[in-house]
């Protein structure tokens, strides 16, 4: 369980004033759940993950847990561009106090998972975003966390990596929690059972992800207007007719 208690988070704005990401939020995040985080751009989804992972502290309130939580796993997060892939993995092993044999085991496993081959000994700054995602995710799955925080990691990957990632998500879900941020609602529904909706500085927990998604969709429809299904179908038919006369 991660206990979020009266958490307020704000950032200073250029020209003075504060931008509130969260206002006096309290929530328990249960363990052994896969939870999707929903919310528009800039709502604070990544900030929430950073706070849960301990990378950043809330301005007020506390986030307490006795469980082990991963660092927020995003594209290139936790990787130092001037170091090679291998050196980055080594760094993560060192700060976590792994023995030599464990370190060797992790490095071999990351190399196999990421399929980076000779790029593994090239500086990370020469990597594509997909390669960065592979290495970052590859390291984390070698550690046994109670909570895995994943921030849009699969969005940049190719089909091969996405398939591997989904397989790992399934394995993680057997014994740990998955907290997953993505704008791809399809893959969110596929991987998560519950949802947290982030809006106007508040968090709302939905036991069933479909409830969360429908609330989120209401928000999108309020902004964009409801998609007109019939009109869309007609347009699609027209397109088909045009391309295949």
């Amino acid at each position: 369980m991660i206990k979020i208690r009266n958490v307020t988070k704000h950032y200073p704005m250029r020209g003075g004033g504060l931008h509130y990401v969260m206002k006096d939020v309290s929530l328990d995040i249960p363990s052994n759940k896969s939870i999707g985080i929903l919310g528009p751009n800039g709502a604070g989804k990544s900030t929430l993950l950073r706070m849960l992972g301990g990378a950043e502290a809330p301005n007020l309130g506390t986030i307490e847990t006795s469980s082990s939580v991963s660092w927020p796993l995003g594209v290139g997060v936790g990787l130092q561009g001037s170091l090679t892939g291998r050196q980055n993995v080594l760094f993560i092993c060192q700060i976590n106090g792994l023995s030599k044999s464990e370190t060797r085991q992790v490095i071999d496993a990351v190399l196999t998972f990421s399929e980076l081959n000779e790029y593994f000994d090239m500086p990370v700054k020469s990597y594509s975003s997909g390669m960065r995602a592979r290495i970052g995710f590859g390291v984390s799955i070698n550690f046994d966390f109670d909570y895995y925080l994943i921030d849009e990691l699969t969005a940049v990957g190719d089909a091969v990596f996405r398939k591997k990632a989904v397989r790992e998500f399934e394995r993680i879900k057997e014994s740990s929690s998955l907290i997953y941020v993505t704008h791809n609602l399809g893959s969110l529904r596929e991987s998560c059972h519950s949802a947290i909706y982030l809006h106007d500085g508040q968090l709302t927990y939905y036991e069933d992800i479909d409830d969360g998604i429908s609330v989120y969709k209401e928000y999108i429809w309020a902004k964009n207007g409801r998609p007109k299904k019939k009109a869309a179908k007609k347009a699609a038919k027209k397109m088909i007719r045009k391309t295949n006369p």
Partner: protein, 263 residues
């Protein structure tokens, strides 16, 4: 099988992080050059050779019994011990931003790692230079090694405290970086690196004595060469500076540590 991370005491955990950061520092500092770690020696040596060639003809006899090149080298190494810390501190956060995402890596750790790196690199260079000087026939006294060590450590601590402070303030006000670069330049003349304190007229000497580096640099020369005497320098004054600088740095860190992890 995934590996469960063992719980560690805060001290042990920080020691692991600093050790890993030191490794990272060594790789990126030396890895990009063909000559690698040799630059730790070449950097001060080349600076001293260039300075010595320009200043030697004019000031060469001012240093008394100490050969001017070695006189210059002593001062330059200690000055570098100080200015190197400032530069290291200013870039410590930005150069390690990617690694601050790990909960175990606290924002002060990159500073500590860089300062330790500076201490070891500069002390190593100084020892090697002393050995070479000894081999060349320059008589260096080892009777007062504790004083030499104190001079090095005090300069290092003053630099570390101010470097920590500067590195954090620079995150808020980028202009400070420029200001420090300008302020650093005259230090070469104001810290008795190129001329002994005794050569300077007494009416100006009083002002120079406010600079703690004058005290550590001249004290170190006195300790290494008993025949070289400069009055009115002591180690209590730089020690007071060291305590003040450390306090300033740590208080600044304490007040800004959450700001430093914000992105």
């Amino acid at each position: 099988m995934p590996i469960r991370i063992k719980e560690q005491s805060p001290w042990k955990s920080q020691a692991l992080v600093i050790k890993a950061l030191l490794g990272r520092e060594l790789i990126t500092r030396t890895g990009k050059y063909k000559l690698g770690a040799l630059w730790i020696l070449l950097d001060p040596l080349l600076s001293v050779i260039v300075l010595g060639l320009i200043l030697g003809p004019f000031l060469g006899r001012s240093s008394g019994e100490i050969p001017y090149a070695f006189f210059l080298l002593c001062g330059f190494m200690l000055l570098q011990m100080f200015t190197g810390q400032l530069t290291a501190g200013i870039n410590a956060i930005s150069a390690n931003q990617g690694l601050l995402v790990f909960k175990k890596v606290q924002p002060i750790d990159p500073f500590i790692a860089r300062f330790i790196f500076q201490l070891f690199a500069n002390t190593l260079a100084l020892i090697i230079f002393c050995l070479v000087a000894y081999w060349l026939g320059i008589v260096i006294s080892l009777d007062q090694l504790p004083v030499v060590a104190a001079c090095i450590i005090l300069t290092w601590v003053i630099g570390a405290g101010l470097g920590l402070h500067a590195g954090i303030v620079c995150q808020r006000f980028n202009e400070l970086e420029k200001v420090i670069a300008y302020v650093q330049r005259p230090l070469l003349f104001l810290s008795c690196v190129i001329i002994p304190l005794d050569v300077i007229p007494p009416e100006y000497r009083v002002y120079l004595l406010y600079n703690p580096l004058v005290h550590t640099i001249e004290s170190m020369r006195m300790a290494l060469f008993p025949s070289y005497i400069t009055e009115s320098v002591n180690l209590y004054y730089p020690a007071a500076w060291a305590i003040a600088a450390c306090t300033l740095g740590l208080v600044t860190y304490r007040n800004n540590r959450h700001f430093l992890t914000q992105r």
